[in-house]
């Protein structure tokens, strides 16, 4: 198991390196653009351009340029938007990370728990009216666009019913975890639920179809023939083997969301997360921030995949020897 984890970690590191090279090449080695002008931003003066060229080595070979860029990004951490006119990139990203992580982790926890409950309940109730009912509820959740649902939630909780039922709902925005778990969770509660509704239905559907298929497997019949109770058959045999498909789905969605795909939720609920940061930097054509955000996103996608690989190995012993 440890050997497996080590191998996977090494592979993840290699992928990260490859992504950083690729991203660097796209932004700085594309023919026909002057990277110095991109870094300096619009309407930069001639001295600024010269200074940028020197400090990023744009007159030197490409691998030196790559090394210098990584140094600015990760070692000196002094990469600045629009050189000396903007703010530093790394603090901006570091500020956005906890917001997005809080949002996505919380939502993920909710949607996975919801999907497990719905999937298992639908499987247990297959053949009755409850099974399709659960799935229809799931489809409704999937069909609601997150920006619309978010705005409706805001309309109800922040405006129409704010004086009565939802008086306890705080203002939109993010409160760091260091200010206390209570306020943090309260501020994020509706963003969590809104984001979770979108995914719970899909996960429940996938889980239900996997579980129903596994209920016809020989090992489920064998477990019943052993005299195992139906609940235990459902959880320990059917659910346990069906988890594997959920985990691969989860790895994809989780990585993408952390990497900025939660943008809509962040915008609707006024959260200054990574998605919002990326969006703003694209609007301003703020190349250093875009670069940092892309690398950040790829880091989390790779990390999520690494964790999924480990989960696979834990869930399915057959994977460990590959």
């Amino acid at each position: 198991m440890w050997r497996f984890a080590g191998k996977r970690a090494l592979a993840a590191l290699l992928v990260l390196f490859a992504i950083s090279v690729l991203v660097f090449l796209i932004f700085f080695a594309t023919p026909g653009i002057d990277p110095a002008a991109r870094i300096a931003g619009r309407n930069a003066s001639q001295e600024t351009l010269t200074q940028v060229r020197a400090s990023f080595g744009f007159d030197r070979p490409i691998w030196v340029q790559y090394g210098l860029m990584m140094q600015h990004l990760f070692i000196n951490r002094d990469l600045t938007s629009f050189v000396n006119r903007g703010s530093q990139v790394i603090p901006q990203v570091m500020q956005a990370i906890p917001v997005t992580l809080s949002l996505v982790f919380g939502a993920a926890l909710i949607w996975v728990v919801l999907a497990l409950i719905m999937g298992v309940a639908a499987t247990a109730a297959r053949g009755t009216v409850i099974d399709p009912l659960i799935l229809v509820i799931g489809v409704i959740g999937v069909s609601l666009p997150v920006f619309w649902l978010g705005e409706v939630v805001n309309l109800v909780t922040q405006s129409r019913l704010h004086d009565t039922v939802f008086a306890w709902v705080p203002q939109l925005g993010y409160v760091p975890l260091t200010d206390g778990v209570g306020p943090w969770a309260l501020h994020l509660l509706f963003p969590w639920l809104t984001l979770a509704v979108l995914y719970a239905g899909i996960y429940a559907r996938v889980l239900r179809s996997e579980m129903v298929a596994s209920m016809n497997e020989d090992y489920v019949r064998m477990a019943r023939a052993k005299g195992i109770g139906e609940t235990r058959v459902l959880i320990r045999h059917s659910l346990r083997t069906s988890m594997i498909s959920i985990v691969s789905l989860f790895g994809l969605d989780f990585g993408a969301l952390i990497g900025g795909a939660a943008l809509l939720t962040e915008v609707v609920f006024g959260l200054q997360g990574v998605g919002k940061l990326t969006y703003d930097s694209l609007q301003n054509f703020d190349l250093p921030v875009i670069l940092a955000c892309v690398l950040y996103a790829s880091f989390f996608v790779v990390l999520a995949n690494f964790i999924v690989d480990l989960l696979y190995a834990w869930l399915d012993p057959r994977v460990r020897h590959v």
């Binding site: 016809n216 090992y219 064998m222 477990a223 023939a225 052993k226 005299g227 109770g229 399915d316 012993p317």
Partner: protein, 340 residues
């Protein structure tokens, strides 16, 4: 004969489908005595597996109708509550399935499977259950059982996996073991080993065995009594020697003629029973179901013939005159052509 362990009376299993009622088992009765090995033979779809699954309540289909009685130690399995039945399953009646590749949940170790079974029926600690799992694995001939108890199903070969399944089935000392084609999915060399194992365990543990198979060879090796099923009914039943040496039903003749002979001249073409097995969905059942494929068919085959005991203990459901059977059998079982 002492009180039978399992006494199945007029068991009928049918499924309601969109196209009508499908009859899988059509009124079979038999008994299994303590320590008996009963072979249940028939083609695919003859109802042999379904009959045993239905007795244990293992048919997970809401459209299934089961009628009749299945008395196990005097209690009717078919009217038991789910909890009562669960206590019987695995503890008193254990089952082995055809494909050992898929019978074990792939994510758990051999030891986990066995101790799950033990702990489902007895209050023992995990440690004690695991220790018993090691003994059982050792008893079914798995080398290095103390290490192999922690192996996952995919780390065993097919034969070894079937041994694990057998160890699991025997873990609570069941008085009846239902083996549903236990060797069909295995290599021929492994088949013999598994049959040997079942035989030796049977004499050691004293369980009765119902052996479901389509292989006459397996039956002749293992069982004390043979029941031949066709279309959900018993075609012939009797002691093994009797049925093997003096088969009375044309269907049994067909089954036996299709075994390649190991001595004498090589036959150019193995005899086969012409036609296809009767569809269980066919509503016209008031006749000998084998008559459509039988070369001795006559008007007497309708209505459905009774099971008659021509020789003590040896039943068959054919209307052919008993006195002519030997001659007809010789005709039926003679190979058509002989290889040069």
């Amino acid at each position: 004969m002492s009180e039978p362990l399992l006494d199945v009376r007029d068991l009928r299993v049918s499924f309601r489908t969109r196209t009508g009622v499908v009859t899988a088992v059509d009124g079979i009765s038999f008994t299994v005595g303590p320590g008996d090995v009963v072979g249940l033979v028939g083609e695919s779809g003859s109802g042999k597996s379904v009959s045993m699954l239905s007795v244990l309540g293992l048919i997970d289909n809401p459209n299934c109708v089961i009628e009749g009685q299945a008395l196990f130690k005097g209690r009717d399995l078919l009217t038991m509550s789910d909890d009562e039945l669960r206590a019987v399953r695995g503890q008193e009646i254990a089952m082995i399935f055809q494909d050992p590749m898929t019978a074990l949940t792939p994510v758990y170790t051999a030891g986990w499977h066995i101790s799950e079974q033990i702990r489902a029926h007895e209050k023992v600690s995990k440690k004690a259950a695991l220790a018993r799992a090691v003994q059982l694995l050792d008893a079914v001939g798995i080398p290095n059982a103390a290490d192999r108890v922690n192996s996952y199903p995919h780390e065993f070969s097919g034969g070894m996996r079937q041994r694990v399944v057998i160890a699991m089935a025997l873990s609570c000392n069941p008085s009846l073991l239902i083996a549903d084609e236990p060797t069909t999915a295995l290599d021929v060399t492994i088949q013999a080993q598994i049959l040997e194992l079942l035989k030796s365990l049977q004499s050691e543990f004293g369980s009765s065995i119902v052996l479901i198979t389509h292989d006459m060879g397996v039956v002749s090796q293992m069982s004390d009594r043979v029941m031949v099923m066709y279309g959900g009914r018993l075609a012939e039943a009797g002691p093994r020697r009797e049925v093997m040496r003096n088969p009375l039903h044309p269907y049994t003749w067909g089954l036996m003629a299709s075994i390649p002979p190991t001595d004498g001249t090589r036959v150019a073409r193995l005899a086969a029973i012409p036609g296809a097995p009767i569809s269980p969905g066919d509503p016209d059942r008031d006749h000998c179901l084998f008559s459509a494929r039988c070369r001795f068919v006559s008007d007497a085959c309708r209505p459905q013939p009774e099971l008659v005991e021509h020789i003590p203990g040896h039943f068959d459901s054919c209307v052919l005159p008993f006195a002519d059977r030997v001659e007809l059998r010789r005709q039926a079982m003679t190979p058509l052509e002989v290889a040069p």
